[in-house]
Structures are given as C-alpha cells and as structure tokens.
C-alpha cells in the first residue's frame, strides 16, 4: 500500500491498514486493483487456499462487526473497505471473472475486441432457437411422440454444447499458462506488449463464445426441463 497520511491524526501511515499512531483504520486507496488488494501479481493461475487465507485475514481487519463500538468515520471506512474486499474476492476467486477482470484492467491496450459470435455459431444458435420455439408450441398432452423426439434432440444438443463449453475452458486454461509465462518472463507491463495483447485478445474471444454457449445450454435446460 502506498505511503499516505492518516485521515485522523495526519501522521504518515506506516502500518498496513491501520495508522501506527492512532490505530484508526485507513480507507483502501481508490486506485487499488483487485489483484493488488490480495498482494497478487497479475497472473491467472492462483493458489486459491492462499487467496482464501488472505481474504479471511483482511476480513478480520475490515469487517463492520469489529467496528461497532468505534466512531462514525471509522464505521464508514470499515463498511467501504469491506464492500470492496468482498467484491475483489468474488472476482478473483472465480476463474472466469478473474480473466474478465484482468482483460478489463489491461483493456487500455486491447482495443477492437470482437463481440459478435462467429458465423457458424450464430447459425447454430438460430436453428436451436427455432427448435425450441416449436417445442414450446407443442402441448404436453397431445403430439406426444413428436414432442418426445424433439425433446430428446434438444437434450442431445445441450449435452453437445456442454461438451464444447468444457473444451473451451480447457483452451482457456492453456491461455492462462501462456499469459502467466509471458508475465513472469516480462515483469514490466510494457515488455512483450504485442504478445501479451495477442493472448488477451484470444482469451476474450474464447470468453465471448463461451458466454453464447452457456446461455444457450441454460435456455435449453429451462425449455426441456
């Protein structure tokens, strides 16, 4: 955490979250990113147990339960810090949210990321939408064979999509390795920038396709039950 002045006694804050002089809790810096919050480098493979440990430790430092007897300013800071910490933890803990957040953080460098699905996926989606429409139109009492067949087809489609989702996650995992390798070898953000941007871009592409597939699979599940 950067050196700063205590909001309360104006002395230089030497402790990590508390003022060394007056022991008041300090607000987290506005520029703090979620990785830095947990003192993590911007890498995608993380030790989740370590993360949890840090999270619990920070929760003990900031949670409003421990500020109930303190004055209003400290209560407000504790509430703000806690809310930030919880959002940071939720984001970093989840592998998909983690990469999405990383891409956002590095977004300055990654323009023109495509957000439309590729043509083949788009066609598939349209076709499935039509089938679901038909299925919903068939009443559960009548048309039983046609309905049962269509249902089976839709369920098969869903399984196929879920399989694809898994593949994509595997591909994403490989990209995590690639990113981490680049980061470790080139610690300075400006080093190997083109290569890094390339990895970010391909991760973004996988992510957006994955979103389409996930949504489709969920919709199929809801339709066929």
């Amino acid at each position: 955490m950067a050196r700063s002045m205590c909001w309360h006694c104006q002395s230089e804050v030497t402790g990590e979250y508390l003022c060394g002089q007056c022991v008041k809790v300090q607000p987290l810096s506005k520029d703090l990113d979620y990785f830095a919050c947990f003192k993590l480098p911007r890498l995608l493979n993380i030790n989740t147990q370590e993360l949890e440990r840090t999270y619990y430790e920070l929760s003990r430092a900031f949670h409003p339960d421990f500020y109930s007897t303190k004055d209003e300013s400290e209560k407000t800071i504790s509430l703000g810090n806690s809310a930030f910490l919880n959002t940071a933890y939720r984001t970093i803990k989840d592998p998909v949210q983690r990469v999405e957040y990383l891409i956002r953080l590095e977004a300055g460098a990654v323009k023109d990321i495509r957000s439309n699905p590729p043509a083949d996926l788009f066609e598939e989606i349209l076709e499935l939408q039509e089938d679901m429409e038909t299925f919903r139109g068939l009443s559960p009492e009548k048309d039983s064979t046609e309905r049962a067949e269509l249902r089976e087809k839709l369920q098969r489609e869903r399984e196929r999509l879920e399989g694809r989702q898994e593949e994509m996650e595997k591909a994403l995992g490989a990209k995590y390795q690639e990113w981490d390798g680049l980061q470790i070898a080139n610690a300075d953000p400006s080093e190997a920038r083109d290569q890094k941007n390339g990895v970010l871009r391909s991760m973004q592409e996988i992510l957006s396709n994955r979103t389409y597939i996930c949504n489709m699979a969920n919709e199929l599940l809801e339709t066929t039950g």
Binding site: S59, F66, T69
Partner: protein, 605 residues
Amino acid sequence: MSRIVGIDLGTTNSLIAYMDKGTPRVIPNPEGVAKVPSIVGMTDNGLIVGDSAKAHLTRDPSRTIYSVKRFMGKGLADVTDELKYFPYSLHEKNGVIRIEVGEKTYSPPQVSAMILKELKRRAEEFLKEDISKAVITVPAYFNDSQRQATKDAGMIAGLEVLRIINEPTAAALAYGLDKKTQGIIAIYDLGGGTFDISILKLKDGIFEVLATNGDTHLGGDDFDQCLLDVLVEEIADKHGVQIHEHPDLMQSVRLAAEEAKVQLSSETEATVLVELPNGKYEKTLTRESLEALVMHLVERTLVPCRSALKDAGLRADQIDEVVLVGGSTRMPLVRSKVEGLFAKQPHSELNPDEVVALGAAVQADILGGHNKEILLLDVTPLSLGIETMGGVMSALIRRNTTIPTSAKEMFTTYADGQTSVDIHILQGERELVKDNRSLARFQLKMPPLPAGVPRVEVTFLIDANGILHVTARDIRTSEAQTVQVKPSHGLSDDEVEGMIRDSFEFAEEDIKIRQVIEARTEANAIIIATDKALARASDLISEKEKVEIQRVIGVLGETQKGDDHRLIRAGIAEVEKETHHLAEVLMDATLKEALESKKVSEFVK
C-alpha cells in the same frame, strides 16, 4: 459499552438471550420458561403478550394478534390468499398492511414492538439493568423490506438494533462456538411460518455463508392449516357447524390441530377433541395420516435445499454436518426427508427452540467487542436490481453475494434539459419487473443539460444487516446528492417516529395495568388484615362500628374486582378511615399487654 442482548423474534415463539461469561443463555420468566408465544392481546385493560395472550385467542380472537411476522414488510396483495384464516381485518396504507383491532389500527412493526418490549422487560427484570441495545434475528430469506420492518419494530420498542442477523447463521454461531467445528455445515430451519436453508463453511473461527435459500411462507402453521381444513370440513359434515362463521371456534380447532400435530411427533396416534355448541367432535389421527397430508409441504422444503447446494457449488454428499433448527424439525417426517437428501443423520444436540436466540447473543458479544475470534461473513439472499426499458429487471448485485457489498451504476438523460430520472429498485430472481419484489423508488436529480451529457453515479450498498443504502454523486461536479428513497412496502421515517411516540402511550397503558394490579394487591391485604383485627377486637368496639367496618370492607371487595385503580385506592382510604379507631383500640390493647408482660419480666429480673 452497555450490554447488548440477542433476540429471536419468531413467527410463533420469541426468546431473548444474553452472554454470561462467554456462554450464551436464554432468559426465562420467573416460572423458568424462556419461550414467549409471539401473540399480542388487546384487552379492555390494555396489552397482554405471550402465554396469557395465547389463552385469550379463543376468548377474544378478533383482538388477539398472532403470526404477525407473516405481515412484516408486506402489502395487502401479498397476503390475500390467507386473509380468510385470520380473525382480524386488515387494510393497507402507504403500501403497508394495517391490522384493525376495535377502533385502532396497528402496523405489523408496532405489534412486533409489543413483543419486543415484553422480552426487553423480562431481560431487565432478570438482569436488573436497563436494556437498550439488541441484535434481532430474521429469516435468511427475508427481503430488504422485511428486514427494515424488523429494524423499525426494534426502534418502536425503544431498542437500538445494532444488527439484523439471519436465523440459520445465528444457529451456526451457537453450534460452532467452541471453534472445534470445521468444515461445511448445512442449517435447516423450519419454524412456524418460515423455512430457511443456509450452507456455511467453518474455518478457524470464520463462518462464511456460501449460499442461502428458503421460503418465507412455509412452516408449521401451514401443516396446521392442512389438518385444520380437513377437520373443518368433517365438522361441517358430521355436526353441521360451519366453523368459518365462528372465529372463536376456528381458533379452538386450529389449536387442537396443532396440539395433535405436536403429539404425533412423539406418538403414533393422537385424538382431536373440540367442544361444539351442539356436542363434542372427536377424531383420532394417526401419524401416517398426518404425514400424508403434509408430505407435499415437507417435500417443498427440499427445493430450496437443492438450489442452495447448487449455488454453493456443492453436492449433497459434500456437506459434513446437518443441523436442525425450529420446532417443526421435531417431526419425524421432516427428519427423515432431510436425512434422505443429505444422506447424513442430522444434529439436534442444542434445543432447536433456543439455538437461534443463543446465536444472536453470540453475535451481540462480537459487536460489543468481547469476542474477536469469531467472524460471520453472511450473504444477501436475493438479487438486487433496477427496472430497465420494457419492464425488465437488470441485476446489480447477485443473490448469495457476501455482504457488505456495493454496486455502482451510471445514469444519464434521454431528453435535452431533462431534470430528473426515476429509478425503481427491485429484489428477486425473475426476469420481469412484475414478477419481482418492488423495494423502493427514488428520483435522481439531473443538471439541465443536453441529453446524455449529465453523468450521475448511484451506489447501491447492502450493509452487514442485508439492508440497502443508496447514495448518488454527480461525476462532473463530484457533488454528492441526497437521495430520498420511498419504500414500496415500508413505513416512512415520520411514521416510525409517530409510532415511537405512540408506544409511550402504550407504556402509559402498561403503567395503568400495573397500577390496578398493585392497588388490588394492597386492597386484598387490607381486607384480610381488617378481618383478623375484627376477630381479635370484637369485644373492644361497638356493634355499630363493627357493622360500619364490615360495610366498607364489602364495598372495597367489590371495587377491587374492577379496573379503576383510583376507585380501589378510594376504597382503601375509606377502610383506613373507618378502622382508625379500631386500630387505636387494638394498639392500646397490645401496648397494655406488652407493658404488663414487661412488668412481669422486670419483676423476674
């Protein structure tokens, strides 16, 4: 810092607990009973709460309020289905249900406050100190309005509510207090009116809620209702009595149904007996018949359990321990269904009635700064969002997000010079606004600029109580804007203040009752004493005097049956006046006796 108590404000029963040197304890009444039935009776003599009000239920049903928690934070439209079951009339004002009792109307937080006050009084008597701070529990699945209503109830009762805490998490605190418990636990809480399931991870004193789910309208009351419907129909068939037309009988049958249900948890057969105007109705029920009636309800609790597991990303077999909370978990059927789902024998070492209040006391201890080992990380049970174009809800904070948490949203204008934007806040999991819960509305002020230029950032913050706070800031000027949020189903600040004032009036009524009781006690004591004196001094006073004294005693005997403490006091004064001479005579006689005996004793010396 003054003491903070823990309160379980239940649909059916309420309890108050405190921390006694590191051990949470519930506070009993002088008879040793800790459970206070959540029932309020409005009698001619004022308010009665708890067991005495329960007795009132069959005598004066239209003026006895039970299960008021079902109405907390709700509008009339939310309860239309069950209106026919309640013996009192309801209406709605400013989106809040009002309960009509005689001439007066009460909001649900006011009635809850009466229960809280009774608990507070009990604690003050037991601990011999003033109580002004509390932690109050709510079902985990309570929405923002219901939580706010509970907080309002505390304020009306003269309590500073330091924390609203979820019932299942409170139970987990009581269970895991020894810190030995580690791993994943599921808390299954089925009470009278609500059902909650919470899944927690316990590790080194941290209680992290992974997911919670529930049904704020499912509990033992509904089991009673199933049984009640059957009995009512049979009584109509066999005896031709339409129970719906007799609110007092309805309550008798309801209580008989509940009693039979409770009995069937420990026995395999139970008999329902109801006194009807034209005879007795008797029916023997078997445990199987009850189970068949309520099976669908018990199975309904498994749906939220599965959803919570899914949200926590766990399979049922990954749960290390299952804890049962709430009176309805005493039913063998409930136990076996829970055991079936988790493939594990559930725990119930702690009294399922008391464990929530005990946990609230633990949380109170933490807030008081006496326990730095334990930390509870709870979640918000429902997604929070705002209405967007086309009546669709856009979620800002997802359900099961750890609280405190916040989300920011930027707003701008659509027309040139537009000066305000209306924002509608919602809670729920559905796509469309109309299928979710409307929490509140507010108007955001915009600077009169060309369309799309203003930028006002709104922060939605859910605090550790699960209660929403909204703030806004103009990004261009960095100026903060005060936001007047109008709750859809909540009391306004002004209304709450008015109710706090009213509650002092109730306090006056309470004082009146106490005065009557005190005067009565004194009158009885004086009657007994005078009778004794008359017997002793019958030959020391005239017959005329004797008759006069007997007359005033007779009058006092009558007035002390009434409720006017001033009349009773006047009667006491009258007796004192008439017995003045008698007292003197007696005194003289006693003195004489004493002197005589003294002489004797001196002589002996």
